[in-house]
């Protein structure tokens, strides 16, 4: 810093520094407390889905393969606990049977081969998937205070 700079610096020490409102610190600290409270939401802050996308793909593939296996291997291969409901529906279709190749009857017949537990698994998975999606969206709501 040369002499002129020093001289000017000495002069500049006399400038008036402006002050914000008297409750400035209080206002800032109350905003920070609110910010900290948002950051403290422990359960949802770092929420991770119970089942990852990769696992979902594997589960869906396994389920599809199981369905194909049951369908291809026929009624004899079906587990003893086959769906009573779908069997009843298939039998009731016999009343309206118009020929051996009734497409509707065949379709319903396939469902009768699937064990009841498989439907329960599908329902539970769908419920879990919906809950995961809801919690995931909720946790992604930004906790940041938006600056204008």
């Amino acid at each position: 810093m040369n002499k002129l700079d020093k001289q000017f610096e000495e002069m500049m020490k006399g400038i008036r520094i402006d002050s914000p409102s008297s409750d400035f610190t209080l206002k800032v600290m109350s905003r920070i407390q609110a910010e900290a409270a948002v950051q403290r939401r422990p359960l949802l802050q770092n929420y991770q889905p119970v089942i990852s996308k990769k696992t979902w793909i594997i589960l869906i593939a396994a389920f599809v393969l199981l369905m194909i296996y049951i369908t291809v291997s026929g009624k004899d291969a079906a587990p003893a606990g086959g769906s009573v409901f779908w069997s009843a529906v298939a039998q009731s279709m016999n009343v309206f049977k118009t020929g051996e190749s009734s497409i509707l009857q065949k379709g319903v017949g396939i469902f009768s081969l699937v064990p009841t537990i498989a439907y329960l698994i599908v329902l539970a998975s769908l419920a879990l998937w919906t809950l995961d999606g809801f919690l995931g969206r909720f946790s992604h709501r930004s906790s940041e205070i938006h600056i204008k």
Partner: protein, 191 residues
């Protein structure tokens, strides 16, 4: 010492003592508000900007590595936020025309200035500073009042050191020129 003191409170905040942040707010609020006011002009905008600066600083505190002074880091948050705000408002800084004032004139002006009354000195100095372009006001305040180095100002503003040197040199000359005009006017009004 100053940096160590700041670091102590920063660590306290990081360890969960939110109230420790109040120390940093108390310490830097005046200069942050002043910088914001020089750039944004309106007191209510400056106050809001100063508050937002502290909130941003709190949110980003983990990213402050301590390589530079805390003041440099927080002033850069203020400066950048103000510049973004001005860009939104599409306000451009006025340019500073070259002043034909010699070093001898500056010396004389300084002596003359020292002879004026203390309260008048402060009044004229603030008036002259207020007539500089907004960014020059910030540079002059940071360099001469806050004793930030050229490198630190470069970090805050993103300007090159050589550019800052030129701007500060021209701003100083302009301020002397404005003070000269004001003090002359006062003498003529007394005669």
């Amino acid at each position: 010492m100053d940096k160590k003191e700041d670091q102590y409170y920063i660590e306290a905040v990081r360890n969960g003592n939110i109230q420790a942040f109040a120390f940093l707010v108390e310490k830097y609020q005046k200069l942050i508000y002043t910088l914001a006011l020089k750039l944004l002009k309106r007191p209510e905008d400056a106050e809001e900007m100063a508050q937002d600066t502290f909130i941003k600083a709190y949110q980003k505190l983990d990213s402050y590595e301590g390589k530079s002074k805390f003041s440099t880091w927080i002033y850069s948050i203020t400066y950048n936020a103000c510049i973004s705000e001005l860009r939104k408002r599409r306000i451009e800084f006025k340019s500073l025309e070259d002043q034909r004032i010699t070093e001898q004139d500056e010396m004389k002006m300084h002596d003359y200035y020292r002879e004026t009354k203390k309260e008048d000195q402060e009044k004229y100095l603030n008036l002259a500073l207020g007539k500089l372009p907004e960014d020059d006001q910030v540079l002059v305040t940071l360099y001469y009042y806050e004793n930030q180095s050229m490198d630190e100002i470069s970090e805050i503003t993103g300007l090159t050191v050589s550019n800052i040197k030129v701007k500060i040199h021209r701003a100083r000359k302009k301020m002397y020129s404005l003070l000269h005009e004001m003090l002359n006017e006062e003498i003529y009004s007394l005669l």
